[in-house]
Amino acid sequence: MKKENVPQDMGALGKITKEVCYATDNTGKYVTELSSGWDVKSGALDVAWKDVEERVARAKRRVLNGEVSPLLFFMEYRLMDIEILAGYSGFWKWQVKRHLKPDVFKKLSDKKLQKYADAFNVKVEDLKTMTVHEA
């Protein structure tokens, strides 16, 4: 890639920091050039977040239908899988799987709910109601 062709499209990252790209100057020598982003990349990132949104919406429907506990909603919202949630909450993976069942979740003690709330960075009350406060 030639230095003058390093893309300068404004992306999510470009608002905070520019990134270093390697490109060749007119003598063919490699130099570094800052880039504020590339449409092709931000498009790919948009796809990833659209997928996340769809997963969150699907999880919400399933919780409201009584198929799964609200944990799934927050897992999708926080991009977590069972392993990551187990890591942050301190529960074993098999316990998390069990707590995904609505009936089991309803009987969880406040102490256990607090562990999940901390892992998701929300309040216990919000955990039960699937409320998200941050933008």
Binding site: A12, L13, C21, Y22, Y30, A44, A48, I84, G87
Partner: protein, 336 residues
């Protein structure tokens, strides 16, 4: 407490951290491309059985941690690397090292990395940064991908050092144990060993998931993605490929341009004219990866989507595989 440390922005976090931590020992000679090349950073790997963020597991670089390890080994620099089970110990160990005057490299997760834009915060646990001081409750951070130094509170740093999930950092930190003098002759030898390791990595791993044959295999697979997954999901898969290839940290073109820069800089130490010629092939490969990314964007943005478009996408990778195979064969055949 603030160490005498100069922040340098780089393209890729691990080669950037390596280059920065070795700056003093090498009197600025170990640039980012040299660290990347000596650490044999260039790779390709696609593991169809594993999913990352619900998409394909594709990597354009070698396994996290190897660049720092290989570069220090090749230059004969002893390294201290430590993981912790206790958060308290992890912090007090870090503070002691800072008091001794060592800037320290840390492996962190980016999900809770507060200065990163929200759009970039996935559960990716192999990011690297340098801690070079502490003022009140704030650690002074040199994150190689950022333009300027930044800060994290002690709670924020603890949270990212103890991020959970795949490749959990477990508080891991690392630094060169002692300052060594690195000679040009050492650098020359390290470059040659780095190139040999990279040749093996790209040409000699058996099976079809890694190296040059991995690129070709992925190309063939992509042609089936439309039928197997449907246009939309196949588009998401291609978006993931493009993110791994072009996202911050790669220097563009799936690290191929950094490698091209490495070979140019390597020529000054090895006095081998072939290197600058081979560097041009990597520039071509990087350009072709980017052409393929533009085509992929056509698919995930919904402008393209026929089977013919997927065939074309696969053919790009097959062409790249051939190009990189020739480049690495040329490197392999150099008589040093």
């Amino acid at each position: 407490m603030k160490l005498d440390f100069e922040h340098h922005q780089s393209a890729h976090c691990e080669s950037g951290v390596t280059s920065s931590l070795l700056r003093e020992s090498s009197s600025n000679k170990i640039t980012e491309p040299l660290a990347f090349g000596i650490g044999a950073g260039l790779f390709f790997c696609y593991i169809p059985l594993i999913k990352i963020n619900n998409g394909p597991a594709i990597a354009f670089r070698t396994f996290p941690g190897l660049i720092f390890k290989r570069t220090c080994n090749a230059l004969g620099i002893p390294v201290i690397r430590k993981k912790f089970s206790s958060k308290g110990q992890a912090e007090s160990y870090l503070i002691e090292r800072l008091k001794e005057g060592h800037p320290v490299g840390c492996q962190v997760g980016v999900y809770y990395l507060s200065y990163f834009p929200r759009e970039y915060r996935f559960h990716f646990n192999a990011h690297n940064l340098i801690v070079f001081g502490k003022e009140d409750d704030n650690y002074l951070i040199s994150d190689p991908v950022m333009e300027t130094p930044t800060k994290l509170t002690s709670y924020e740093l603890e949270r990212v050092r103890f991020a959970k999930g795949a490749l959990a950092p477990k508080g891991q930190l690392y630094y060169p144990k002692s300052k060594a003098i690195i000679t040009d002759e050492q650098i020359r030898k390290a470059i040659i060993s780095g190139i040999k390791t990279n040749v093996n990595q790209m040409l000699r791993i058996p099976g079809n998931f890694a190296g040059v044959s991995g690129i070709k295999y992925t190309g063939k697979k992509i042609k089936n993605w439309r039928n197997k997954l449907g246009v939309e999901k196949a588009g998401s898969y291609l978006a993931q490929l493009v993110r791994m290839q072009e996202e911050i940290g790669t220097g563009g073109g799936g690290f191929r341009y950094i490698y091209g820069a490495f070979l140019q800089q390597a020529q000054a130490y090895t006095h081998n004219d072939q290197l600058s010629e081979i560097s041009k092939i990597f520039t071509q490969a990087g350009d072709l990866w980017r052409t393929a990314a533009v085509h992929a964007a056509g698919i995930y943005k919904g402008r393209l989507g026929s089977q013919e478009d997927f065939n074309q996408m696969g053919d790009y990778l097959i062409e790249i595989a051939e190009l990189e195979k020739n480049a690495f064969l040329a490197l392999k055949n150099i008589k040093w």
